[in-house]
Subunit: 242 residues, 2 copies
Amino acid sequence: MDSTRGGIALVGFDADDTLWKSQDYFDEAQAEFERIVGAYVDLTDAGDRLYAVEKGNLALFGYGVKGMVLSMIEAAVAITEARISAADVHRIVELGKGLLRHPVELLPGVREAVERIAADMPVVLITKGDLFHQEAKVRDSGLSDLFRRIEIVSEKDPRTYARLFAEFGVEPGQFVMVGNSLRSDIAPVLELGGWGVHVPYHTTWAHEAEAQLLHGGERMRSIAGLGQLPMAMQELTALARS
Amino acid sequence: MDSTRGGIALVGFDADDTLWKSQDYFDEAQAEFERIVGAYVDLTDAGDRLYAVEKGNLALFGYGVKGMVLSMIEAAVAITEARISAADVHRIVELGKGLLRHPVELLPGVREAVERIAADMPVVLITKGDLFHQEAKVRDSGLSDLFRRIEIVSEKDPRTYARLFAEFGVEPGQFVMVGNSLRSDIAPVLELGGWGVHVPYHTTWAHEAEAQLLHGGERMRSIAGLGQLPMAMQELTALARS
């Protein structure tokens, strides 16, 4: 296949909530967290207080389940004014283990869409978060054979994408990123001059929802699911060629 | 510089306990953990019980501070028969934050040794564990400009090294790995036909001490500190040339 047709030479895919479910499990874990601390105190803002702790710890913990569980424990101690029992602390640790053990559930049409793009040009997986957990999910997904490279990065910002473009040997204008997060998958790539396909997911972590799309909107398409990816890629490919 | 002289074309360095201190801080955190649970129960095997929990969680958590802290909390609940207070659980979380915040302390002679090798051939950093924390340490170390690449991997086994050799474009016989862990830095590289410089550290995590060197001992040198690295490299270079 001609890997340079239309000027697009490489497609990057986000993983969590783009290829497979993820935020749903985090939402369930957070609901369970609220039930656990709700047995000690009667408050309606436990979720907000947890998010404040998570955000405060982000620069130290990074993304991923293990940091979230440590933030949950810290928040539970604070919310219950140090009254939470050891048994309930243990339930929070087990919540985290449940998330780490959860089988990978592909979203509809993912395998077909990735296969179709991969038949035309190289595809890479670019995902953020915990190295160990992300590697396990890629392995369990059964998709790893389709991806030329799997990049697990600690932050998805313009600096990271610029480094990846250099490693991949592509110009920004030859690259399309497909993902559910405007903040992490789309905005930084458009900012560098690349292309984006936004696949919104029905639930978004508050942190990822904090995004502003300042420029480059004309180099982006939004689709409802990966089944529409080939059509969006055709449109972007035609634009990139013109 | 001639990057192929003597057949050695690339040198890899481990990070924790090879370039900078690490296990000392973990040992201190473990001693503090034993003091915390020691207020509840009178036992001499708290460290062994913690290690058993850590080992049991390794396949789920991987390496790094955050997984260790979660294992500490789980072990503390078990050891105290769920009597540990929320305040003491919080102290364990803070132990972990202290480890993540700890400034990087280079070991003696490291900068000079790495600079000297890097003047002759490309050097790469190959480290295991938590992506976010390892990236922060590399940044803080002031050494990142010396390394051609920084690879953070989830496990240092023959499979990982074979993948890295392919990515780096070197044969195993052209590669020397420098590190403190026989299990992670030396044995898998020797097994593939590469070369090793072992720099034992004065304290070793029980898990890393579980190693057997089955073959390739003649392709390894042991040194007392990185100050002796240039001499060891000369010896291995001469052997690789012969």
